[in-house]
Each structure stands twice: as C-alpha cells, then as structure tokens.
Subunit: 238 residues, 6 copies
C-alpha cells in the first residue's frame, strides 16, 4: 500500500555514522532511508554577548539544504540573500529540541552550534536532523568532558524525532517524500529516550483531523522514537 512497500508502522532503514567530520568536535551522517543529513557540532568557549555572565552555556542549531538535495534544484539561500521561513522554523525547532535535554548550567560558559546540512532530501529532513543532532551534540559534550569544560553530566536524556501522517486514510510512521506530498495530516514528534514529549507539531494539510487520528499518530510516534533511541544508544556505544 505504501509506495515503498513498508508496513504502516515501519520506519525506513536508519543509520548513524559517527565522526565523519575531521575537524568538528562532534559529527555524524544520519540516514532515514534516502534522506541523508551531515551533522556537525562546534564548541566555542565563548558566548554571545546577551548570554555572558549568567553562569550557563547555550546550544543553538542551523539548518541548510544543498541545492540539489531535491528532485529539482532549489535556489541556494546564500545567493538568495536570506534563509527562508521554512529554514528558520526548522533550525529553531532543532535548537529547542536539543536544549530540552541539556542542563545549560552544567555546560559551563560554552556554546555548542549544531549544523545540519541535508545532502539528500526524501522526506523527514527535520526529524533526521534532530535525531542526528543529538549524536553530534553528545560527541561534542564528551569532547568537552575530556577537557574539563563541563561542570558535570550536561545531558539529561536523549532526544529523537519522527514524522507521522495520515496517507490515503491510513496512519503511517516515518513518511517519505512521496507520502508526505499527498498526506492529509502531517505531524512531527520530538521525544526523549525516556518517552516524554519535547515538541508536537500536527498540521491538517487537507481536511482537519480528529482527536482519534491524533492518538493513532502518537502511538506510531512512540514506537518509532523507541526504535530511534535504541539506534542512537548503539551509535554512541560503538
């Protein structure tokens, strides 16, 4: 029934390859099927002016897409002279998601900037980005731990994300591009490894949705995030 032949509650193949960027304090290449995102985490031992002297650090994120990550070439944002509204929305979401599991005081007066650059886009780029961003951030925090830059364990939990949607009347887990384009309802869930919600964004693309539909999507998300959390754990232990 799904264009890809997957079961409704089946994730795409997810892989996380760590340490791919030679120079970054943390990095990974995360794939959700054909969606591929290169994530780096950069540590700076200084803070932007508005945060200095508050006894805490900061985690922020930026998101980009290579022009030909998409089926037809998308205009480069550096050429256009600004980031699109969509890009800003996504990078704000990634930043909030990461900060939800970080103890900013334990981070010390340091800043971690996580860059998520989409190499190939096949749906779910923001959920793959969040899932990979956690890994790059965890690597960077280990790097900081080794250099005594942190003030104790700065990560309170893990965080991952998945999209779900209603496609031709059926609730599906982890939409790919073909499903996403046609879905009546599209929801992104960001959850912690311990199963709590960090962010929910549900949007009726076609007809408004009912409470029951939302409940079904949540069940799928909980299953998907459970699997992602295990993959994350394995990646960090590798």
């Amino acid at each position: 029934m799904r264009p890809s032949g997957r079961e409704p509650n089946q994730m795409r193949a997810v892989t996380i390859e760590r340490g791919v960027a030679m120079k970054a304090e943390g990095s990974c290449l995360v794939s959700f099927g054909n969606t591929k995102v290169l994530v780096t985490a950069s540590v700076e031992t200084s803070l932007p002016g508005w945060l200095r002297g508050k006894g805490q650090g900061w985690v922020t994120a930026e998101y980009g897409m290579l022009p030909r990550a998409t089926g037809t070439r998308t205009r480069r944002e550096a050429t256009a002279g600004k980031q699109s509204g969509r890009t800003q929305e996504i990078q704000r979401l990634i930043g909030r998601s990461l900060r939800a599991v970080v103890d900013l005081e334990k981070l010390g007066e340091n800043q971690v900037t996580v860059d998520c650059d989409v190499l190939e886009a096949d749906g779910g780029t923001r959920t793959a980005s969040i899932t990979g961003a956690y890994i790059a951030l965890a690597e960077a925090i280990r790097w900081m731990d080794e250099r005594k830059l942190t003030r104790g364990p700065a990560l309170r939990d893990s965080v991952a994300a998945v999209s779900c949607g209603v496609y031709r009347g059926t609730p599906l887990l982890d939409l790919d591009y073909l499903e996403d384009v046609e879905a009546e309802t599209d929801a992104n869930f960001v959850m912690t490894g311990s199963g709590k919600f960090v962010e929910i964004q549900g949007t009726a693309e076609g007809a408004p949705f009912s409470r029951e539909e939302l409940d079904q999507l949540m069940l799928l998300a909980e299953k998907g995030i459970g699997e992602l959390s295990l993959i994350q754990k394995a990646a960090l232990e590798a």
Copy 2:
C-alpha cells in the same frame, strides 16, 4: 493562583469589533484581555504568477507587531531589514489555519491577504490573530459574494485558536504574558467550529511533558475554542 485571578479553565474577556478599517474588504479589532490585534483582509482580483491558471484562489497572511506593543520597545522589522524567524513562523501558521477552512476553488481566481498587526501584546498574539483573521476573512468573502467574485460558499467551517500551558504544575487555558513566560509547557491549538484540529503545536519550555499533560491541555483547548466559536458566530451575525 493565576496572576490574573482567573480560574484555570477560564478564558480572558474576548471581544471582536468588526468593520474597523474603512478601506479594507474585511476587518476587525480582536482582544483577548489586554492583547489587541487589528486585522484586515484585502481582496485582489489577481493572483501571484505561480498560482495563475489553476482554477483556484489563494489566502495568505502577514503578521506584525507595533514597536511598543511590548513592555520594552521592540525594534521595528522594517528598520531591521527583515522579518524575524518568529514573525515568519506565525504568519505561515495563520495562513495555513485559514486555508484549512477555505474551499480555494470556490474562491475563484482571487487572492485574500490577511494582515494581523498587534497593537498591544499580553500573550497569545498568534491565537488572537487567527481568531480575528477568520472574522476579517469571512467579511471579505461576503464582500466577494455580493460582487459575484466567488463560485459558491467558499468557507467550509470557522476556525479559532487558543494557547494552553502548564504553569506551576497546573494546566491553564489562554495564557497571558506573565503565565507564558513562566510556563513549563506551552501549546497552541487551532480548531474548527465543528471541533476538529487544524494545527497543534506543543513545546516543552522546561521539562518534557507526558501524554497525560497533553490530554489535559487538549481538553482545555476544546473548551476554549468552543467559546471562541460562539463569540465568532455572534460577531458575524451582529
């Protein structure tokens, strides 16, 4: 318990004054307590290039805030040279919310632009904007109906929005600024008059939240939107 003395499930006083802008095809001044938004709907009988010849119309929205709508002056976006990420996020949300209840084919090849300009901000500016935007849009569609610009009833339902949040451990309806700043969890709900969801955005500002907390917020939202829908109905019948 609430700074304002309201009950947990009590909305602020909501008023909608129609026809406030002399020149606009639709307009209202919507107040959620001390939050005041001036909304206008502008009809253009032409479409942007990418939409022409598809046999349908379009509804879009823009959002702005007067510099001194806030406690300390906020920099004017026209001076800064761009809209902030927050502004873009909100105006995209307003646009999606309105389109969810409009039959774009019945709108004919016309475009309605809804402008939401916040005169006073005391929390909930995006939910007040959506609630008022529906009224301005409905007025504009009546204006179009009278001039035979539409191709049948273009509005499928009404739409309204409210924010809920967990404040000092208690789920509250319709957060004002003081509550919003301190809330652990903050969620915005956009729903139709018939009780279905158009958009849900829930964010853990402090600790991640559980499914139970989300369920409680949804119940509050359903109550609040029910009241807003009645106020909208009364405003349009006045």
Copy 3:
C-alpha cells in the same frame, strides 16, 4: 467646492486621545478626519554610542503605515526588506520637528523614540503624526519628570503641523487624500505654539508656484496651526 464640503480655510475634525497604549511612557491616537495615527513615545535610559558622554539626550522618530491603511493594500516594508525613501523622509522630518522644541541637555542622558504608525490614511499622515508625536513626547517627558530623569523643563514650546495646497486654483487648508492627489502645489508647515516656523516644505506638483501663492498658503497654515495648538493644549490638560 471641496470634495468634503469644507470651507477653504477649514481644518478637518481633529481629535487627540491620550494614553491609549498601556505600556508606553507616552501615547495618543490622533485623527485628522479619517486619517488616524497611533503614536507611542518610549523612554530609554541609555543612549546610542555616538551620543554618550555629551551631557545631553536625544529624541528620534520612526514612521510606518499598516498595509491596509490605504485604498489598495501597500506592501509591508518589513517584507520588502527596507523602508521606502518616502518613509525615511517622513520619519526624519518628525524627528527634526520634535527636537526643535526640546532642550536636549535638560532631557538628561536619555533617549525618547517616538513611533508613528498610521492605522488609516486619508491625506496628511505626516502632519497628523507630528501633531500627535508632540503629545506622546510631552506625556513621556512628564513621566520622566516624575522619576527625576530630566534636568529641568525639557520642552521649550509645543509643535504641530498642517498641510496646505492649491487645488483647482484655490488655496486650501489641511488637504485630504482626494484633494492631495489633484493639488498643483502641496506644502507642509511645521510650527511652534508661539507661531514660529520649524520646517517648511513646499512642492510644485504641477506648475511652479509664485511668491503670492506661497504667502496665501502660509496664512492658512498659521490659522490651522493656531487651532491645532489649542487642541494640543486641551489634550494635555485633560
């Protein structure tokens, strides 16, 4: 003869409602007939770098227009990414007009920013803005006086503005939009309560004008400003 039926030397109905913005240190809603401008004055107890340490304060102004203040929707400047030349010209004029009646040394090392946002435009938005800006500034200076932020009476005089023009051969006071569009000559006068000139801007829109025509426009302006000064005085005493 005038589209509005007014006498050539008759102002539109002018009203000034003070204290309309809850959060601003000074504010008013000023109407010249159907032209309506919301004005706020914001006090900051710091100065921009280039003014610090000179033993004086500063007064500056910004001007904006809601997109649907006009007969057809005007593009939002925040979306366009910059303020138009017209906007900059007007806000520079408002700032100069206010500074002409302020003793900047008595203001202390504080800055007052006056925002004039046009809610409805029917001609004369810059003259209504200046007239209202004086009221908002006066309110803000009272607020500063009460907090001992000033160093003596900072206002030397009042200031108001009116436009005059030659319309179908006849000199008229206080042009509305229909008159303005068609006027051969258009002049803006900014004057103090004591009857001196702060700024004169006269422009031949059609044929160049003679000294005699300019003299007639000045007489009208003196009459109009006299009336505006009384309305300002009453507003501040209310």
Copy 4:
C-alpha cells in the same frame, strides 16, 4: 564676517563645464566654489513597466558621493548595502525639480536618468546637483531632438537651486560647509528661470524662525537663482 570673506548676498564662484563625460548623452561638471559635482544624463528609449503605454516619458535622478568627497572618509553606500535616508531624500528632490520643467508628453516614451556624483563636498551639494542636472538634461534633450525622439520642445523652463541660511544672526546666500554646520536656519530653494518656485525646504536647525527671516532668505534666493540662470544660459549657448 563670513569665513570665506564673501558678502552676505554673494554666491561662490560658479562654473559649469559641459560635455565632460564621453559616453553620456548629456553631462557637465558643476562647481559651487569647492563643491564639485559630476552630472551625467542617460537616455533610454524604453520605460519602466509601470509607465509604459501612457503616452509620456520620465525623468529620474540618482545621487551619490565619492567616499572621500568629505573631510573624513564616508562609508561607501555600495558597501553598506543601501542608500542612506539623506541620499534618497536628495535624489527624490532632484528628480522632482527636473520634472517640474519638463513636458513629459513631449519627451516621448523615453526615460532620462540623471546621475549626480559629488567629487568634492563643501556645502550645497544638492543645490549644485540640481543646477548642473538641468544642464545635463538639456544636453540630453538636444541629443534626443536631433534623433527625432522628442515630440516638440520638451523643456518648459530652466531650473536651478541655491541654499540660504541664517548664520550668527545674519541671512546669507549660498552657504559653504563651515557656514552650514553652524547655521541656525537652513533653506533650499529650487526655482525656475522665470522666477517661480518649484520647491522650498526650510529647516530650523537651532531656534525656530520667523516669517520675516524666511522673507529675507527668499530675497537672497531670488537673487542667487537669477545669477545661476544666467550662468546656465551661457553654458548652454557656449
């Protein structure tokens, strides 16, 4: 009494050298004392979209200043990424002044763009620009006449400009930089060769000014413009 030793009603030495730009349809180098402006007029036989098909042409102007035209280096506007408010104000003024003496219908469906670039600035750059812009425009219109691009005599009159001001209590003609900085009142007058006004801009830099002071400035301006008109006439006949 004047820093330069001039009489109060004495212009600086004014020279206009025509045909200085090899490639432009019209050009001149105009000097008001040490203020030097290079002016070119460029003819295009097409119009911007919003003017096409109206049976008339257009005249527009742009203004710039070389970075080291001033005593200390001014930041290049191309580097800053935008024209300042002052620049926009001046170029709008030049454009209006030129259009006041042009019969746009006789111009045919052509556009003339006049560029005024200040090589050296010593006060009065906008008045020198207008005075020179008329010469470059007249040259360009002759060029058009020879090619039958015009539809009859497109220039109705000549136009020139001069600044006057009250300096240490005395009304002066044609302020240079040292006088301008200190002047209590500063006024720019744009007038036709036949002695009518195209634009008046008077500003109280210090104390507001009286009707009498303005009258004195006007008399000086009439004298100065009279002299400029003769110099313009001679330049065009040379």
Copy 5:
C-alpha cells in the same frame, strides 16, 4: 620537508566517486587528500532571460562551504545574508573554467548549473572543485545526450586544476592547508586535458616572485594536471 611528508612534486591522493547524488543529472565526490567536495550538475531545459533565443546554452557554477568544513566554524553565508567576495571569486572561476571546454551551441538551449559544496577543507578547495565539476558536467552531458537535448558533442576537452606555491623557498605541487597558510607565493592553474591553459592566477603572498619561480610552478602544474586528467578519464570510463 613538507608537513605531510610528500615529495615537492607529489600530489595528494586524489579520488573521484561518481554518481553520489541520487537526484542530480551528474555528480561526484572529489577528494584531494583531506579536502572533500560534493559536486552536482543540474540540467534545466530553460535559460535565463538574457540568454534566450541566441541559439546556445549556458554553464554556470555556485560554490559553498559547510560551516564546519574548516578548523574553526565559519559563519554560514545564508545567515550572513550574502556570499563573501572570496566565494563569488571562486564560483566565477569555476564557471569560466567549465565554459572554456564546452561548445555552448552544441549544448542546445539548456542550462547546466554545477554546485560545488565543500564538506571538508584542507587547502585547494577551488582546484578540487574544478576537477570534480568537470566530471559532474560530463555526466550531465551524457544524460542530455541520451535524451537528445544536445546538438552533437558538447565537450571539446577535459579541464582540471591544481595549486602550486613556494613554501619555505621550495616550489611545491598541490598545497594543503598548512602549506598554503605559510606559502610566499600561491598560484592556481586551470588546464585542459590537452595541456593548454584556461586560467592562471598567481599571487605573491609575501615577497614578489620572479619569472623563474613562476616557470617552476608551471612545470609542477603541468605534471599535476597531467595526473588529474588521467584520473578524470578513468573515472568517466568506470
């Protein structure tokens, strides 16, 4: 002697992996040692306005660098709001280099846009980009050939690039980052497979260089480009 232990006339290990971007008409991942560039070629069957109707196509290039391709994070150009002068210089060079070996008439009225995005930067990003850009372009032209979009063989030759420099007095081939930073002279050579020059850019970073030094660098470049051309040939035959 070289930080890397290479011989003066020894290239780094160069690899070219074709077909890495699923959606692009041509693509490769090119590595010059630790410098890695992802290149895509996108075919559009339309042209920008200024090129239409001239009976030829166009090839253009854009260049970008992921923020953490470098040792410390570089600001994202999309956030900065513009491409740096360095970026523009490089992408103009890549475009010129490609067009030097393309017969634009044979390309038909189509445009190929080549995007070079640096994943890791260790010196020589522009030369690696050009070398890889040729491969992606060749793949895209094959794709066009198969669809009869070309009008005969559009590639006249191959093109590759390498940098050479004088480092501590010794001429070296293919500088890496450590060498580049310290080099007294730095030169980039773009050459065809048949051994002719497309572009030479030599810069004295420290002391000016002599004709003899330049001759030595050219000899190194000829050797390096010869090797690159073989690697390119092999990659296209694979």
Copy 6:
C-alpha cells in the same frame, strides 16, 4: 591593425595628475587613454578590531564605477544593494597589490583606505586603478611621514599593473575596450618597479592558450610596467 592604430607593444597615453582631491591625504587622477580613475587615499589613525594590538597597520582598497562611465548606463551598486562579484574581485586585487609593496609594521597602527572610482571606462580600469592607487598611497605615506605616524620607510617598492591579450591572433599590450571585448585571451599583470611579479591573472576567453602565448604576453607586460614605473616615478617627483 588595432582599432586605435597603436602598435601591438604600445601603451595608450598614460597621465597621472596628483593632489586632485582637496581633502584626501593622497590622491590622483590616472588616465590610460580614455579610461579615467579618480583615486584617493584616506588615513585613519585607528584600526579595525581584528587588527588591533598586532603592532602593524593595514592597507585596504575599494573600487566603484560611476553609472555612466560605461557606454550604456550601469546600475548603481548602492541602489542594487550590493557590490557585484566583479567589483569585489577587483577591490581585493587592488588591496593585495598595494600590500605587496608595503611594510605593514613600519606603517604603525594606522589604516590607509584607497578608493578607486572610475569616471570613464574604456578597458583596463583595474590596471589603471592599481597604477594610480600606488601614487595616492605614496602621497598618503608622505603625509604620515611628515606627522611621524610611520616607523621608518613603509614603501618597499613601487607597484603598477597592465593588461595584455591575444586579439585576432596577435599579442597586444594594454587592451582598450574594443580589443578587450574581442580578445581570445586576457591577462592582467601586477609588477613591482624592480620587475618582480605581484599577481598574474590570465584567462582564456575563447580557446585555451599555450605556454608560448603566455610568455609573449609576459614580455609585453614587462615592457608596459617598465614604462608605467617611470611615469609613476616622474609623478612622485613632480
């Protein structure tokens, strides 16, 4: 054979007029035939933040072109809102060329900004700019010497530039616009008075070029720069 009738190895008439800008610490008007560039050098006794405290000064350059320096009017970069890639390339080249002959430590902690503004463009604007920039810089350094701002002789050598190219099969010195447009190969050479290279930029505009052609262009360049160096020397001694 050349459109201008010059011999292949003949420069255009080159003149350098010093001290043309009243306010600048150094300046000249340089002409290569009909190409005319006004150059100023501005001394600031402070440095940009990133250079402070390093015990050295800085030399930088900016380049601009008046809109009607060209055969048809070019859009003003200040209006376009940014400098073109070409402009940035040129001003970076001018800056590097000047720094190659300056001992930055001897310059003291001062910055010299050289502005090259093209009044008339007939080919070779960048080479004329560099040649004139050296003169303006030398004047400014003399001015600094007189005020004891330098720490010894800051100029190590002179620097000049010339373009050469292959035009209809013949190598030519100092291309003018007509030759430049048609040249198959175009090369810019920047050399010191002592005959060493500072920068070489050779580009195949049509067919790639051979080592022999490059050698011929270099010989021409050496001749041309030799002549320019004498003219520079004479100008500074005048």
